[in-house]
Symmetry: C2
Subunit: 436 residues, 2 copies
């Protein structure tokens, strides 16, 4: 019973290195919580010479050899990317080894296939660290809230994007300027696309939605819009209307199925999530029994992410020590794919919308705009009209709820008006009451 559980780590970058450090630095407490010692028995890294390895660990460069090593019980995949991560994880699972991964892209885009391999071979594929860093949101959704019919969840799940929006709002500065600063500070990557275009958030939302609603991972069905088109004026106008703008991932059960979308979102200032600033992540979940619960904390960083990686390792060690012969949790809640509710196409999702329409001269223009919206059966809830100082001034509108497809058609028609100069900005309003 007190034989150490044998762990192999593939990839010693930020997360892998942090996990190794945590396993070593807090070994006593971790062993107590895991019911016995854990031993890092093998490490695969591209720079084996750079690692101080204790006597217990073998070190080498080949992760596939690690995945095939019969002595290893738990494979930790912290290489990132698809290749060779996918092959390594698949190989380990096929051999009945348990796998812990921090790789959100791999889970969101190849998870259905990997979970099937895991299930077939009685292996656990754990991925707490793939969403919201150290916040145990996967465990909350899968276990803590397991009694609930989840109605919706919404999260600020990309720290880089939230940092940029927080700074834009605080200083009235444009996106490009704040992004450049975030890159200089190391909060944003040299290639920031993954973060600011919403792909990273869409990976995380895809994973949370699968667990919350018992559906397959459907990354391709997750609508994704980034934050680069937002202007400091948008943040100011939103504030005037009683909202803040956050880059939200939203998954919601509706009559037609499951909505999944990542986009800039107006949320009421009275709402909890509007106050989450800087690089923090936060997820709000509405369950039919529990009501609304909020989970907030550091969404990234070596130590925070390692906290979740090692929590997964401890869970697996507990499982092994308790003599479990099968994984405790069915991936995706054990629902056959054929029974899962469909994804709602973005075109039919209804939202209230904020529109910022840049017009050259406002005389008569408001009437034209109203007419176009009316012709698409879109009604207006609020308007901000600023003084005209000659030149260009935006008309800012808040509409009542309207299906995306209808709104897209209206925007296209508005955009073609001669009075409209420049791109129309559209931001959707969060579909939740502020009191929730």
């Amino acid at each position: 019973m007190h034989e150490p559980v044998k762990i192999g780590i593939c990839g010693l970058g930020t997360v892998g290195g942090g996990s190794l450090r945590l396993l070593r630095g807090n070994a006593g407490e971790i062993a107590r919580r895991a019911g016995g010692p854990l031993q890092v028995a093998r490490i695969a890294t591209r720079r084996p010479e750079s690692v101080a390895v204790d006597g217990a660990a073998a070190i080498g460069g080949d992760p596939m050899a690690l995945a095939r090593d019969d002595a290893i019980q738990v494979v930790v995949e912290t290489m990132g990317g698809f290749d060779p991560a996918h092959a390594v994880v698949a190989e380990a699972l096929a051999r009945g080894k348990h796998v812990v991964t921090a790789n959100k892209a791999l889970i969101a885009e190849r998870g259905n296939e990997l979970f099937a391999i895991a299930a077939k071979n009685g292996a656990t594929l754990a991925f707490e660290s793939s969403v919201a860093g150290g916040i145990p949101i996967i465990k909350a959704l899968r276990e803590g809230l397991a009694a609930n019919r989840i109605e919706w969840l919404a999260g600020i799940i990309n720290g880089t994007g939230n940092y940029i929006l927080t700074e834009m709002a605080a200083g009235g500065r444009p996106f490009a300027e704040v992004l450049a600063e975030a890159q200089a500070l190391g909060y944003a990557e040299a290639d920031p696309g993954f973060d600011v275009d919403g792909v990273d958030a869409a990976h995380k939302l895809t994973i949370m939605a699968a667990i919350a609603f018992g559906i397959p991972l459907r990354f391709a069905d997750t609508f994704t819009e980034g934050i680069s088109a937002l202007t400091p004026e948008d943040l100011t106008y939103a504030e005037e209307l009683g909202y803040r703008i956050k880059h939200l991932g939203i998954a919601r059960r509706s009559a037609g199925g499951i909505e999944m979308r990542v986009h800039p979102t107006l949320i009421s200032k009275r709402w909890l999530l509007s106050r989450v600033s800087g690089v923090d992540n936060a997820v709000v979940v509405k369950g039919h029994a529990v009501g609304t619960t909020l989970y907030q904390g550091p969404g990234a960083g070596a130590d925070a992410t390692a906290s979740a990686v090692v929590a997964d390792i401890i869970d697996i060690a507990r499982q092994l020590r308790a003599g479990a012969s099968r994984p405790l949790s069915a991936p995706l809640n054990g629902r056959p794919e054929a029974e899962a509710p469909p994804a709602v196409p973005m075109d039919s999702i209804e939202s209230e919308c904020y529109l910022r329409i840049p017009v050259l001269d406002r005389m008569g223009v408001m009437a034209k705009i109203t007419r176009v919206l009316e012709s698409h059966a879109i009604s207006i809830e609020a308007v901000i009209q600023k003084e005209v100082h000659g030149g260009s001034v935006p008309i800012v509108l808040l509409t009542h709820g309207v299906a995306e497809g209808r709104m897209n058609a209206a925007i296209a028609e508005l955009q073609s008006l001669a009075d409209v100069q420049g791109r129309i900005g559209r931001i959707r309003v969060a579909p939740f009451p502020a009191g929730d």
Copy 2:
């Protein structure tokens, strides 16, 4: 594998009734998450005639008979109180049955004995619902943050008390008036002592501290002070000093061992917890790796608490279906009691303190007060001096950090000054940086 897991429920009050309703109303989703169906096979209630029972369940009045029923695998104790709850839980565990309880008093005050019985008989004693209602904070502490050395945790863990403080602050109204209103609205019990004196919060803090720090349940060592002595003026002065007052449970690792205390606390307005209002609960946990994470949601109510009860049942069902022969988690983190760090006596815990000293006439009084504080080596950080309009006016001070015992001696001496008219108010400042 797909035989239903057989559940018996003892007590059909708010929580038990809510759990039964939830198990029935969401049976399909719950079965999917549990890996197979759950069946409520027996119910013990004092009013068996009042329950609509489906064909599967037997109903009767004797919970001990239920605990002894060989057909029952999981006993749900939702009677509350010690008698007969203690005997019923002990009997079920002794027979190797798994037990789920919402009974915070039972766990906090008799848990050490009950966990020993559970361990001896390979049974799981689950108690997620005993702390913070539907928020899965026990799971977060025990599993989600398991890799961390927990440095401290602090929580608003009594909804009634937080509601009263929120209303006092919003309306400048005295404690007694708001309490009476809360009772009329059903937010406070007819006998509110458990809530406003802090005993309920101390039970919950005791439980969280045991898990976070791997120590036995030490309810007797948890310092407890209620909110009934707070005045609306305290809330106003705190605001002026940059703080809000919350009834916090605090557990902290310090050089001398583990601090555990429940008392009104000044927390910086910049701190997350200061913004939790109304009946919501919230717990902040600082782990050495993950940093600071926050968990917020409904801390009470039939459905929210039932959400946690049923989550525990689902966890046990998963365990049974996975073929685990032992419970997954060691209660209290598996540390032998002899190795656990001691409780820090309240007298040696150091806090910055807010003092409200009611004096009749301020001429020369400030000097006398300063002299007394100096003689106890207490230095002053800030003072609020209001205009004297004749009559009584308080002197409000904020001190630097001082050990509780020293402060008690100073307060006793101040209280004996002829100029001091009425009881001195003392409120401790939260020992955490606001940025955390």
